[in-house]
Structure formats: structure tokens, C-alpha cells
């Protein structure tokens, strides 16, 4: 057969058309998909019975209720608990990723002992034996006061057990990690005479004046704050954000007022000045329920007129007058403070300045105002029976200097500990340190000093469920169950204005060879015997918890939380437990504290012309918990790019140094140096460099470790003159071409 051009073309085209009309191409594409994609290593999650378990999230002090979705005995999803007074069905980014903390590779799977710098698995018996021997030794040497404990909270049965154990053992060194709670507690204590937590009736407030509080960046109970903000949007409530950087909170506010960093307290007093001058205050409250107003007033009138305040803060005098007027004239005004997420206690006098604004508008204990939420009263244990060693030990000074003649007001001063410890080279201030639910090596400012101090402690015991920076430095790790594997009461939600107790419960069986920290303490007490064993007589932590909860237990198990819906703030006539029985603008104790003045950043202006400030976001967590995989994944590439952190700089500032957007630069402060990338951001005040907190981990899996830098390595603590708490909000810095 002859193949000419014509028949060749007909055959080819005809063949192609025929094939195209046949099912072959479609079958082939389908098969191709199957051949190239059905890999046996792609997991197929197993089906099973679906159940929901009510529990509590403990990952931040927010106090949210959770509903955990299980398929057989696997946790597949964590959701918010519907009807919960704090978060009603919603949940924050960290809580949603909680299952990754249970199943992820950062878990410590068994008790570990560091031998020649390497962790080896040991048995629980061996670990507990070792600790109880060391503890018994110290007691016999008469040095029980050299034992200390750092925890992230002092409320709830586990912190109280730790504290009780230390006391009866002979040490006062229970230390809570710092936060704005320290300053708010003292403010309420000094001005209102109460021992209470500050709660904010944000749902009902209609004009919120925020002095740098990251209300939408993780301040207080994050989900509760978000919900309140949405209510303001619906009902016309206003949010005024005062801070040097356009944060998420500032962006969502009705008015963003950039301010020179660190001068927020001055602005508060400037606003107070205008309110006094224009008689814009609640006469009933001032006349009948407060004292010292007239004395305090004189000092404000003299020192804080809008012109002076304008110069210090950089806020125009007319704006100050406008703020005072709209704040005082609002129906339910509320002033809040504590920068960012509220991780730094800050200057007490600044908190008191802001609190006087609340007092002047008479919102204390009122709808939409600031409430004093009493400490949970359910933990009632018999008076401690102390032996002689314990009595002598507890008469010693606290290792951190809290409550000393220098800082009589402070209850805990973790920030002062490294300096004290590093100053003395021989004297052993702390010989055994327990760390529970905290990661101070990462989260405290002045990382280098903290590490040096930790190295001096002969025995550091970490209770962490995760191999975090502090656990890495420990000599022994006694891993706790994660919050999804254990019982624990979570009393009071940060910044929430009513008492609430959540119950975390074992949603799944412990995955690894871990032990509840409460049980560890009870077992240690038993091993030490005598008065110590008597003080902690429970069979197990669970038995202790159930006993403490009493008739609340059934509600807690049933609902996952307990709340006192009838709780109301007391009337002004009964609210104040000061000497005068009134709100005190001035009293002997307040007058004895150093006067308010803005905290200056550390460093020499000539060598460090810029100022470095940290910023917080919901997508970067910087307390005990570091970002799980999903959360770090959500971080924008304008914050983290590969392993480089981007610092926010105003383009005008960057150009004056000759830095381009995205360029590498060296950021140096009096405390340290780091290589960073520059990100142009018009939302940051010229002259500032803003660095996100929550990066720069050396611990955890590779999703987080080694990415960015830790702000705490570039900054040191600055002692507040009034309290000794850390009041540093930033540090002087230099940015140079890399």
C-alpha cells in the first residue's frame, strides 16, 4: 500500500479524532491521577465513635471552656464550649491548636535526668528518691529556705499545693511569673484596700480608653475581649487606643493616638488634670466614697497641664482636652492599662494614674467599669503545723527580695532574682528550684542573666510537659500530663469580672510515662514524712481536688465550669477596705512610694539613637507555651521569612540610616546584638524599631526552634522604683547596615 501525504494525514487526524472521542483519554487522566497519587504513606484517619468532652483550656490565663471532639480515643479537634461565660463557643488560635501540644514531638515522654550534659530516662522512683534525698539533706543542714519554686500562677490547687509544700518544708520562696496582675493587685490593694484581681466589665463599657493594652492582641482573656469589641461595634461603643505603634488593637480602634513610648502614665495624669479643671468627675463618688482627692488634686494641677503633658507625650494638648471630655462624658467609660498582652508588670504609679481616671468617673464596681474580683475561696486547708526547721526557714528573707524593706509592696519579684543570684559568687541563695508551668529562661527579660543564674542552682527540677528552654537547663524533668490528660482547676479568667472556675479533665489517657505535678508533690511530701506529710495528707491529687471542690464538684464535672451568676460588686459604702473605708487617692503607703515619672529606656542616646519596643500578636505566644505548628504557620511573611525576623521600622527612619525594605541589618542594644531584616511599616512611630515577641526559641521542634530572635535577649529588666517589678517597656537601640 502506498502511503501518500493525503492518506497519512487522514490516518493521523482520523486516529486523533477517534481517540479523542473514545473514553481512552479520560480513562488515562483518571488513571494517571490514581497511579501518581495513591501513595500508601498518605495516612487514612480511622473512623470511630464521635464524642465531645467538656474541659478547660490552660494554655493562657484566659480561662476558656473547651469542647473536645474525640473519635474513639483520639482527639481530633478542640472547639470553644457553648454557653461558657468567658468564651461562649469561640476559641483563640492557640486553644484551637491544642491537640498539637498533646501529639506533637515537643513532649517529654518520661522522667529525665541530666547526666554529663545529656538527658537519660530514669524511673519515677529514682527521680523522686533523688529529690526527696536532696530535700531531706537541705533540711538537716538547716537550709530549707534555699528551695524555691517558680509557677505561672498562685491560684488553684496545684500552685497552692506547691506553695503549701514549700511553706511546711521551710521556705517562703514561691514565685509567680510576672505580669500586669502584679500591678493591678497592688493598685487595688493600695487604693481600695482589697486583695483581689482586677476584672473589667468590658461587655457593658461604651468608651474604653486603653493605655497601650493589647485588648485585641491577647490582653486579659483574649476571646472575651474580642467578643466585647464586637459588641462595641454593634452598639456604638468606642475604643481609644494610645500606643506608639499601630497594633491590631489600634487598627480596630475608633481612634489611635500615637504616644511617645513609656509616657502613658503622664497622659493619664494630663487627662485627670483636665477633668479636675473642668469639674468632669463623679461628685458623689469623690465627695462621699473617697479620701485624699484634694491633696492629690493639687499635685496634678501643678504638674500636669496639657501643655506640659503634650511636650512629654507628644500628644497634642487639644487632643488631651478632647480625650478628657469624651471619657468623662461617656455613659460607661473604662480606662485600662498594661502594655501588649500584659506580660510586664510595668510601673505601679502608671497603673495607679490610670486607675484614678476610673475612680474619677465613678465606675468602680459599676456596670461597664472595673471590678475587684475576690480571690477564689474554695481552697481551705487547715493551718500548717510547722516543725522547728520550717519555722526558722520561713523566717528567712525571700530569695527574690519581695516584701523586703527595699520593696515592701511586692509579693513576687522573679525579675530581681538573677541579679541577686549572680552578684554573689559563693553564697548559695537557691539550691533546689522547681519550675511548674513556666518557662522563665525564655520568657524573662535578660535571658543571659537568667541562664547564668540557673547554672548556679545545683538542682533545677522542671515539671514541664514539653522540652522547653527551661526544661533543657534542668537537671531533672518530671513531666506533667498535658492539659488534655489531667484534672486541674482553673480559677478566675484574666480580666473577667466575675468569679469562674473551670475544670480541666483527662480527655484521653496519658500518652506517655508522665505524672501529675500534684501527685508528685503529694508523693514528695509523703517521702519526707513528719509535718510535711501531715500537711499534704491526700491519697492523690484527684482526691485533694475533689475534696476542695466540695459541692461544686458535680457541677464542674457536668458543665465543665462553675460560676457565681449572682456575683455583684459591693456597693461603694462596702467596697473599700482601706483604713478610711473609702477609696484612697492618697494615703501613707502611697505617699511613701516613689513619685510617678515615666520609665526611661536603658542605654545611651548617642550610641543608641533609636528605641526598640516589643509587640505582641495573637499569632505569637511568648509565655510558657511556644507556638504549636499551626500557629507558627499562620505568622505572616512580613514578620518571619525563613529563619529571619523582620523588625518594623518607619520608612523615614530607615531611609535616614540608608536601609531598604527587606534589607538585612544589625540590631544592637546595650544587652545584645542580632541580625534582622527590615520591614517598612508606616504604622510605627519614627525613631522606633518594633520587634515581635514569641520568636527566637532554642527549644521545641524545627517548626519553631531557631526562627527569629527572642526579644528578651535584647532587653534587661528595669526595676520600678515603687515596687521592684520589671517596668521596662523597651530599650535604646541601634540599627545598622549588615
Amino acid at each position: 500500500m502506498k502511503i501518500d501525504r493525503r492518506s497519512f494525514l487522514s490516518f493521523t487526524i482520523g486516529g486523533a479524532a477517534g481517540t479523542a472521542l473514545s473514553p481512552l483519554p479520560w480513562k488515562l487522566t483518571d488513571d494517571m491521577a490514581i497511579w501518581t497519587q495513591m501513595w500508601p504513606w498518605t495516612p487514612v484517619p480511622e473512623k470511630g465513635e464521635v464524642t465531645y468532652v467538656k474541659s478547660a483550656c490552660t494554655l493562657c490565663p484566659g480561662g476558656c471552656g473547651i469542647s473536645v471532639r474525640k473519635v474513639d480515643d483520639r482527639i481530633v479537634k478542640i472547639e470553644g464550649l457553648k454557653g461558657h461565660p468567658v468564651n461562649d463557643g469561640s476559641l483563640c488560635i492557640l486553644g484551637l491548636a491544642g491537640a498539637q501540644l498533646l501529639y506533637g514531638p515537643r513532649r517529654v515522654k518520661a522522667p529525665m535526668k541530666k547526666i554529663n550534659g545529656k538527658f537519660r530516662e530514669v524511673s519515677w522512683e529514682q527521680a523522686l528518691d533523688e529529690i526527696s534525698k536532696t530535700l531531706a539533706d537541705l533540711r538537716s543542714k538547716g537550709e530549707p529556705h534555699t528551695v524555691a519554686c517558680i509557677a505561672d500562677s498562685d491560684r488553684g490547687t496545684v500552685p497552692e499545693l506547691l506553695n503549701r509544700f514549700l511553706r511546711v518544708y521551710g521556705s517562703r520562696n514561691f514565685i509567680r511569673t510576672p505580669s500586669i496582675q502584679d500591678s493591678y493587685e497592688l493598685t487595688l490593694n493600695l487604693m481600695q484596700g482589697v486583695r483581689a484581681m482586677a476584672g473589667f466589665d468590658v461587655n457593658n463599657a461604651d468608651y474604653v480608653l486603653s493605655f497601650g493594652s493589647g485588648i485585641l492582641d491577647g490582653w486579659g482573656s483574649p476571646v472575651h475581649m474580642f467578643k466585647a469589641h464586637s459588641l462595641w461595634r454593634e452598639h456604638g461603643g468606642k475604643l481609644i487606643q494610645i500606643e506608639p505603634r499601630l497594633s491590631s488593637t489600634a487598627a480596630k480602634s475608633d481612634s489611635w493616638i500615637p504616644i511617645n513610648p513609656g509616657t502613658e502614665g503622664t497622659l493619664a495624669l494630663g487627662i485627670a488634670h483636665v477633668m479636675i479643671k473642668e469639674s468632669l468627675y463623679d461628685n458623689d463618688f469623690i465627695d462621699n466614697y473617697s479620701t485624699g482627692f484634694h491633696e492629690w488634686k493639687r499635685h496634678i494641677i501643678d504638674g500636669y497641664n496639657p501643655e506640659i503633658v503634650g511636650k512629654v507625650t507628644g500628644v497634642a494638648p487639644s487632643t488631651i482636652v478632647g480625650l478628657a471630655s469624651s471619657f468623662a462624658r461617656a455613659r460607661k467609660p473604662l480606662a485600662v492599662c498594661g502594655r501588649g498582652k500584659g506580660l510586664t508588670p510595668g510601673s505601679l504609679k502608671e497603673f495607679m494614674a490610670v486607675h484614678t481616671l476610673n475612680a474619677m468617673v465613678g465606675n468602680i464596681g459599676k456596670e461597664g467599669g472595673i471590678w475587684a474580683v475576690p480571690e477564689p475561696e474554695y481552697i481551705e486547708w487547715p493551718e500548717l503545723e510547722m516543725d522547728q526547721t520550717a519555722s526558722i526557714g520561713t523566717q528567712q528573707h525571700r530569695a527574690d527580695g519581695a516584701g523586703s524593706s527595699l520593696y515592701p509592696q511586692a509579693r513576687y519579684l522573679l525579675n530581681r532574682l538573677p541579679e541577686t543570684m549572680n552578684a554573689s559568687s559563693t553564697y548559695k541563695l537557691i539550691q533546689v528550684l522547681f519550675v511548674a508551668g513556666a518557662n522563665p529562661v525564655y520568657s524573662m527579660p535578660g535571658s543571659a542573666d537568667i541562664k547564668e543564674a540557673f547554672e548556679k542552682i545545683p538542682l533545677v527540677v522542671s515539671f514541664s510537659s514539653y522540652m522547653d528552654e527551661t526544661a533543657q537547663m534542668a537537671d531533672l524533668i518530671l513531666p506533667n500530663h498535658t492539659f488534655l490528660e489531667r484534672y486541674e482547676d482553673v480559677p478566675a479568667a484574666a480580666g473577667y469580672n466575675r468569679p469562674v472556675i473551670n475544670l480541666a479533665r483527662p480527655v484521653v489517657e496519658p500518652r506517655f510515662n508522665t505524672m501529675h505535678t500534684g501527685d508528685v508533690i503529694i508523693r514528695l511530701a509523703r517521702a519526707l514524712g513528719g509535718t510535711i506529710a501531715k500537711a499534704l495528707p491526700w491519697e492523690s491529687y484527684e482526691a485533694c481536688l475533689e475534696e476542695m471542690m466540695g459541692d461544686r464538684w458535680d457541677t464542674l464535672v457536668e458543665e465543665g465550669y462553675w460560676t457565681n451568676t449572682d456575683f455583684a460588686a459591693p456597693q461603694w459604702s462596702e467596697a473599700f477596705e482601706t483604713a478610711s473605708g473609702k477609696f484612697e487617692f492618697v494615703n501613707k503607703e502611697i505617699s511613701s512610694l516613689a513619685r510617678y515619672s515615666p520609665v526611661k529606656p536603658e542605654g545611651d542616646e548617642a550610641a543608641y539613637p533609636l528605641i526598640l519596643i516589643p509587640f505582641d500578636t495573637m499569632r505569637l505566644w511568648n509565655g510558657y507555651i511556644g507556638d504549636p505548628q499551626f500557629v507558627i504557620k499562620s505568622v505572616p511573611d512580613t514578620v518571619l521569612k525563613k529563619n529571619d525576623v523582620l523588625v518594623e521600622v518607619n520608612p523615614a527612619t530607615a531611609k535616614s540610616i540608608g536601609l531598604r525594605d527587606g534589607a538585612y541589618a544589625v540590631l544592637s542594644t546595650p544587652k545584645g546584638k542580632a541580625r534582622v531584616k527590615v520591614h517598612f511599616y508606616e504604622g510605627v512611630m519614627p525613631g522606633l524599631v518594633a520587634l515581635p515577641r514569641g520568636l527566637g526559641h532554642s527549644a521545641y521542634e524545627n517548626n519553631l526552634a531557631g526562627k527569629g530572635i527572642n526579644f528578651n535577649e535584647l532587653v534587661g529588666p528595669f526595676d520600678d522604683a515603687a515596687t521592684g517589678h520589671d517596668a521596662a517597656w523597651g530599650i535604646r537601640a541601634k540599627l545598622a547596615k549588615a
Partner: protein, 264 residues
């Protein structure tokens, strides 16, 4: 079950309420078995069905302003179900369901040509360049109601269709003819701490989403409510995600191809 009226599931996202916290992103990842890698900072390679963009108004300090914009799949209807991605798929791996208005994605059919990614004006479609890996037993938290995707396929937001199927099953078991508004809510809607996302049937005048958007179905679903807009409205994609913002510059950016946007 009786023949039911066609539904049109959609969303209204209130940008005045959205705080950019990222809960929606993580709720979605956890619900839909979205994988993660050690480095997720190259956002072109990072698989996230829901992505929160940060918009800036471009003004200098102190007039600078930012706004967050969560962006799930827009589930475009186009004209009579001709959404941009559906029209180009050679493998019939993506389809427009006229009963629900949901644009589906069938992973087992997709062979990774990525035409749909090129066609989608919203960048909602993502390609799996890598094998998904759940280290150290993390696959235990995988949701059995959603298939795990393999390397080489395109994936995208499904409006949590598994939740719709379960809601229908539950209604059937309980002898109800139809599902209620709260029976079917997407994971992002449920999680949003700011209650910024409203989800429901745009065809049902009793649903909140309909009342908020007041879609003009005779006019390509355009919102009639004040301050509402859809992304790239002028392309005629007829998407089912509506945005609400009281800020004019945000609404303007919503239809601007050259917007100054930062990937989040």
C-alpha cells in the same frame, strides 16, 4: 427525603469586627487535615484554605491604617455555575453544585495540572508540592471526615462540606426534613472569637447571612446592604463571600487588582 429547594451557602465577613487573630486559619487547618511543614514562610507554597490578608491604606504615619481580610474560597457561581476554576478543569475534579452553591474539589480525580489555580482570581487554590507529614504520631489528631490529600493535587476550602453532610444525616436520623441554620456552620465561623463571620443559606430569607447581605439574585448576587462588597466584583465571578467594612478605603481595595496587600 422530599425534593428540596436549592440552597446557596455563603458568608458575610464583618471586617470591622475581624481582629486578624488567625483563629479561623487554625480552626480550618485542624478541621480539614491541612498539613504543615517546618518552614511555612514562603506563602506561595504554604497550604492554608483560609488566609488572613493584611491590607494597608498606604498613608504615612500617623495616618496609616490597616485592615485584616480573611479569605476562604469565594465559591463563585459565575453565570449559571461557570465559576472560573470549574470551567477550566480537564479532569472534572472540581464542580459547581447547584443544590448548595459549593464549589467542590475531588482530590482523587485531580492530577495536578493547576489550570484552576491559574484561573482563580482569588488565589484560594493551593498545590501540594510535598508529601504531607505528621511527625511523631501527630496523625492521631486527623479528622476522619476529611480525606488527607497527597502530593500532587490541588486543594481548597470546601465550606466544610463534611459538616453539611453530617448535618443532613443527623436531620434524616431525627426525622427532620431540612437542616436548621445552626446545624451547619463552617469551622472558621464557629471558631471566630470576634463573631465576625456569619454563614448560612443566601437563598433563605430567615438566615442571618441573607439578612446581612441582601443579595440581589437577579443582578448576579450583588449585595444590596450598605457597606457590603465582594472581592473583584467587576470580574463577574459572582462569589458567595460578602465583606462588610465601614472604611471606604477598604471597600475600594476590594475591587482593586493592584492592591497593596501583604500575605499572611
Amino acid at each position: 427525603m422530599k425534593h428540596e429547594k436549592a440552597k446557596k451557602f455563603g458568608m458575610v465577613i464583618d471586617l470591622d469586627k475581624c481582629t486578624g487573630c488567625g483563629s479561623c486559619m487554625v480552626a480550618c487547618m485542624a478541621e480539614n487535615n491541612v498539613p504543615f511543614r517546618e518552614d511555612e514562610t514562603d506563602k506561595l507554597l504554604s497550604v492554608a484554605w483560609m488566609r488572613v490578608y493584611k491590607l494597608t491604606n498606604g498613608k504615612p504615619f500617623p495616618d496609616a491604617d490597616i485592615c485584616y481580610l480573611p479569605r476562604p474560597c469565594q465559591h463563585c457561581e459565575g453565570h449559571h455555575g461557570h465559576s472560573p476554576c470549574v470551567s477550566v478543569c480537564p479532569a472534572t475534579a472540581t464542580d459547581y453544585d447547584t443544590r448548595t452553591g459549593i464549589v467542590s474539589q475531588i482530590y482523587a480525580r485531580c492530577f495536578g495540572c493547576r489550570y484552576c489555580m491559574a484561573a482563580c482570581p482569588y488565589h484560594v487554590r493551593l498545590f501540594n508540592w510535598y508529601d504531607p507529614v505528621w511527625p511523631d504520631g501527630m496523625e492521631q489528631s486527623l479528622n476522619p471526615d476529611v480525606s488527607v490529600r497527597m502530593r500532587g493535587v490541588v486543594e481548597k476550602c470546601s465550606f466544610c462540606i463534611q459538616r453539611y453532610q453530617m448535618a443532613k444525616d443527623r436531620a434524616y436520623m431525627e426525622g427532620r426534613e431540612d437542616i436548621e441554620e445552626e446545624d451547619y456552620q463552617t469551622a472558621c465561623t464557629q471558631a471566630c472569637p470576634a463573631d465576625a463571620i456569619t454563614f448560612g443559606d443566601l437563598n433563605n430569607p430567615h438566615h442571618k447571612v441573607h439578612q446581612l447581605a441582601r443579595p440581589d439574585h437577579r443582578n448576579g448576587g450583588k449585595p444590596r446592604a450598605k457597606n457590603l462588597f465582594r472581592l473583584l466584583e467587576r470580574l463577574g465571578t459572582n462569589p458567595k463571600v460578602y465583606y462588610k467594612s465601614s472604611r471606604e478605603w477598604v471597600r475600594n481595595l476590594g475591587d482593586n487588582h493592584d492592591a497593596i496587600q501583604e500575605k499572611a
